[in-house]
Amino acid sequence: MKKLLTTSALVMGLANGAMADGHGVSLGIFLGFTGPIESLVANMGPAAEAAIAEVNASGNFMGGTNITSVRADTTCVDAAAATAAAERLITSDKVSGIVGGDCSGVTTATLTNVAMPNGMVMISPSATSPALSTIEDNGLFFRTAPSDARQGGVMTSVIMDRGIKSVALTYTNNDYGKGLADAFQSEFEAAGGTVTIAAAHEDGKADYAAEVGALAAAGGDVLVVAGYLDQGGKGIIQGSLDTGAFDTFVLPDGMVGDSLPLAIGSDLNGSFGQVPGTDSMGAGKFAEMANGFDGTSPFAAESYDAAALIMLAMQAAGSSNPADYKDHVFDVANAPGEEILPGELGKALEILAGGGAVNYVGASNVELIGSGESAGNYREIEIAGEAVTTVKFR
């Protein structure tokens, strides 16, 4: 029995070794499985893996090559831990591409410290900091999420269209929050609005009474909360409602999710905001085919698209070497070519194998612009009847 165990362990070891030697392709799923956005990642990770499973099921990928995925934890906030995890993905797991990171800070850190020195392609589904648009990336970094510079403009029009001219602003103290807050403040003031106070808050802290007090003292018609829905953002909203400081809140993408109205209750009705999203065919189709996760959860669609883009670019290049396929990401994402919706990855691979062109639309209506980021479609939402409802698409 003992011998049998040893032998099978050896065989398995050999099999794994063989995989790493290049007979299979491996993708890193590099998201914050623990940390402040772990509840969003619970849907983002499976969404990316669903794309891989779909490609494997089709059997069309690079002559029937199987793709495996390896999860690694960005922690969303700890750049050192994220860098180590990315290092591991590349040197030990020998991945050929990385879906991730998730939060802007850790994504920037891993891009500069790990991905660029190793020539690794990263496609982030959710890093939205404007700084990532201009960062030096050797053409290795893409994102299926739009920059917050764009969201700042959309949020300004969402607020202005409701006739509100004076807001208080609080943001989570990281690259995402600061980037979005700065983009919004400059857009809003340029449009003639007043930001009475722009105060940072830390996530995961015990108490937000001090922040709420400061925001209330500064005043404003509504409170813009550029934070995370299961973190400080929620704490600030709860505190503001409890003390009667604000009644209405503006919720950007990090704050939109079903758990927020569930947690706060009817007091949140009437608050509004926006989140990347489309009413395209792809979004609906993706939500339907999502199995074992919620396809409408923020950034789930973008995660699926990020994984799909890497695999399609590999297929177009006929190589899983990042240096080869990085130049094909734009080709498969944008026109010309046959439009590809979620669930049609097998068809796309077949077209590419036959030398044809595809225009990947995917679940989030992917259209890469600039240095390789999504042009950005936004869904204006309003909380009504303790649920997130769609007002319109912008």
Binding site: E38, S39, A206, D207, A209, A210, E211
Partner: protein, 336 residues
Amino acid sequence: MELLNAFTLLSNFVLVPAIAYGSQLALGALGITLVFGILRFSNFAHGDTMAFGTMVVILFTWMFQSMGISLGPLPTALLALPIGMVFCAAFVLLSDRVVYKFYRAKKAAPVVYLIASVGVMFVMNGVVRLIIGPDDQRFADGERFIIKARTFKQMTGLNEGLSIKVSQGLTVVTAIIVVAVLFWFLNRTRTGKSMRAYSDNEDLALLSGINPEKVVAVTWILAAFLATIAGTLYGLDKSYKPFTYFQLLLPIFAAAIVGGLGSPLGAITGGFVVAFSEIMITYPYKKFIAYLGPKDWAPEGLLQLLSTDYKFAVSFVILVVVLLIKPTGLFGGTQS
């Protein structure tokens, strides 16, 4: 009238939240200080002990809720609290048996305990996430407010509202009761006295026939009880999320050290010092001053001493100053 408005404003945004937050910190710091006083190490697992105890309370609260048992206007969690305390104590005693007892037999240095407690912290972290998950959990029910801001305005005709939550009232009342019982226990009962003797001079206590294992066990049970109560009150007042409880460790330690590690009275004072300093120093007094002075006195700026970004710096500056001037803490505990 203006004076009343100013006072209400200050109560609503500074006094009431600071008192509630201070009570929660004080209860947490009491647990830290007890373990430090008797077992002589800084227990880094305390934040996650709070998370574990509260998790059990939440699970039983959900069970009671599904069975239709409630306490009317009070949260059902109060009913589940004793069960959570027992479970938490059992878990903590188990960790003592498995981990700390080994080091006690070897008479290990305090720093070894400290590192071991970091290990225990990560295990608890994992256990809690395995059982209840990393997400936010809601378990508060019953009435939410004693006074609502809007109701207060209508009642009094003032411009400013005052809101007091049931959870805030409950926190303060419970904290007073718990502290009273704890002090009675430490000062009046035989076990409590033997604990203090053990804390003052271990060898002398052993010579006079005090059973060290019993003292250690009672300390852990008390720490677990305090952690569960503090965690549950905090969860009722804000929300339950394992990650936040882990983060609570910092202000709790600051409170315990400011007051003087090993001194229960110091832990309570420290809790309030940390809570009040965080809120009072970062509060913008613009509206407050505007109410007090004539109309045209209203200042342009926010009159904020420090931006809220620095609120954590405030408690740590206090911590550093205390350690520099009086290293044993305000109430002269053990030197940390």
